[in-house]
């Protein structure tokens, strides 16, 4: 495997560097950082501190916006999203831990747009893995990885952050 828990500090360093470049090149003004619950929030907390952002960190739980609700059902322990009331016209940095199919990010964008129309959204993820299913991809990432068939990658945390790679039988 090409990625381990020990790589996390380096991945965060890379992500921070890419983010600084993207913020400069896309001229983000007073960006609002939003972490997607739960792994995305853990990464966002670290990035928020590193970038010394003025605006408090936003938290998004996309459970009510998932497109697989009928298959996985309702999670009774959903955390309410916490976004500032004014998203309209804001520059947003959306953070998740692992980018896979793109459906989580789609759900997150749908929810953000229900709060208002942002000026621009920049997507930052710690790990981008193969398996994209819809035409979305991150702007910044710590590392891109290709997993073996049946392998799944998951970030656990918040302290310490750890990467868990499992092989699931019969998985595609």
């Amino acid at each position: 495997m090409t990625i381990t828990t020990q790589d996390i500090p380096a991945l965060l360093d890379t992500l921070e560097t890419e983010l600084r470049q993207a913020i400069a090149s896309r001229q983000l003004h007073n960006p609002l950082m939003i972490g997607i619950h739960s792994g995305g929030v853990w990464i966002a907390e670290r990035l928020h501190q590193r970038l010394n952002l003025a605006e408090p960190l936003g938290v998004l739980d996309i459970s009510f916006y998932r497109d697989d609700f009928s298959q996985i059902g309702m999670n009774p322990k959903i955390k309410t999203s916490q976004l500032p009331s004014h998203v309209e016209g804001r520059d947003i940095i959306l953070v998740d831990d692992v980018f896979y199919t793109g459906r989580t990010v789609r759900a997150a964008l749908n929810e953000i747009f229900d709060y208002g129309r942002p000026n621009q959204v920049l997507l930052a993820v710690l790990i981008e893995r193969d398996g994209r299913q819809i035409p979305l991809r991150p702007d910044c990432c710590g590392r891109q990885v290709t997993l073996q068939p049946g392998q799944r990658i998951k970030l656990t945390g918040p302290e310490p952050l750890s990467i868990d790679i499992k092989t699931i039988e019969h998985a595609a």
Partner: protein, 326 residues
């Protein structure tokens, strides 16, 4: 339409998930707790600028109210709207049932319009159950009050409000006061409190407003407020259902208030942190004094707000088992 082929408990599907919500009876403590937990997720939404999620987008929910109701119908409608469902309010007074069409024919016609859920209020006990047994398999039925039988969503919003203030049910002593005989709310509340593990459930009422052998419901019966309110954590007042009283069950409203109405003085008989509840609509000065209904221990308006979150939880849970995107 195909007949229903569900498991023995009509309210659950073959996977044990919520399908219909007709009565509290038969549910496990785990299932009721899951409903309360899911409602807690929705409760915060009322504070948000955008009070809407897309969970039931594309679904059609029909409010079938054969009995008048403003509060319950409105909160069901708001709950469905906040889940992004389309809502049909059928005006029974001008609908085909008032022109002689049978209930089942009405249901069949609505099925043909591809409705996904019926919210049913009916003066006859068992009406919602009857519709659930006879409607198409993909449809869920929610009981919004049937005769004297059950009002399970009201009971669940009451449980939600109690949990908000008292956190758990294990050490809880609850008194339900008033017209127990005619109250579908009281029946459902008693069932829910017993399933959720309340320490003691009391009913306080004149003998004429208590069902025979009421203790079989799992309650202790009292006939005076002084004894019944002692050491109580939750006071639930009930509405005097004058429309269901066809005989002289009470001497007078003023005498009823004197004996069984809740005054500020009587609230002091309960624990100092006791909460006061009422499912509404309130008859001020008959069941409850205005200073109590509007006082610091009253959570009556919170019950109304919580009704939306609880109904959102029940609707979304019932729809997930029928396959939202099918």
């Amino acid at each position: 339409m195909q007949p229903n082929t569900m498991s023995a408990n009509l309210q659950l599907n073959e996977e044990g998930k919520l399908k219909h919500f007709l009565s509290i009876e038969g549910f496990s403590r785990e299932m009721l707790t899951e409903i309360l937990d899911t409602a807690a997720s929705f409760a915060g939404m009322s504070e948000q600028q955008v009070k809407k999620v897309p969970l039931l987008r594309g679904k059609t929910i029909t409010n079938l109210f054969f009995e008048n109701s403003t509060r319950t119908r409105t909160t069901f409608e708001l709950a469905a709207t906040r889940l992004s469902a389309d809502v049909l309010n059928i005006n029974i007074a001008t609908s085909a049932t008032s022109k002689g069409e049978s209930l089942l024919d009405t249901i069949r016609n609505l099925e043909a319009m591809h409705v996904d859920m019926f919210v049913v209020r009916h003066a006859i006990s068992g009406a919602a159950h009857f519709i659930a047994e006879n409607c198409a398999q993909h449809i869920s039925v929610i009981n919004a009050g049937d005769g004297r039988h059950a009002h399970p969503t009201q009971a669940m919003l009451d449980m939600f409000t109690i949990r908000q203030h008292k956190h758990d049910f294990d050490n809880l002593k609850v008194a339900i006061i008033g017209d127990i005989l005619h109250s579908r709310v009281a029946r459902s509340q008693i069932q829910a409190l017993n399933i959720l593990g309340a320490k003691e459930v009391r009913v306080i009422a004149p003998k004429t407003l208590l069902p025979a052998q009421v203790e079989r419901l799992g309650v202790k019966a009292y006939h005076n407020m002084e004894q019944g309110l002692d050491d109580i954590d939750v006071i639930i007042m009930l509405r005097l259902q004058k429309e269901r009283m066809n005989s002289a069950l009470l001497p007078s409203e003023s005498e009823y208030f004197k004996c069984f109405g809740l005054s500020a003085h009587k609230v002091k008989l309960a624990k100092p942190d006791a909460i006061v509840m009422h499912p509404g609509p309130i008859n001020r000065g008959v069941e409850i004094e205005s200073s109590v209904a509007d006082g610091p221990q009253s959570v009556i308006l919170q019950q109304v707000s919580n009704g939306i979150a609880v109904r959102m939880a029940i609707m979304s849970m019932a729809m997930q088992s029928s396959g939202v995107n099918q």
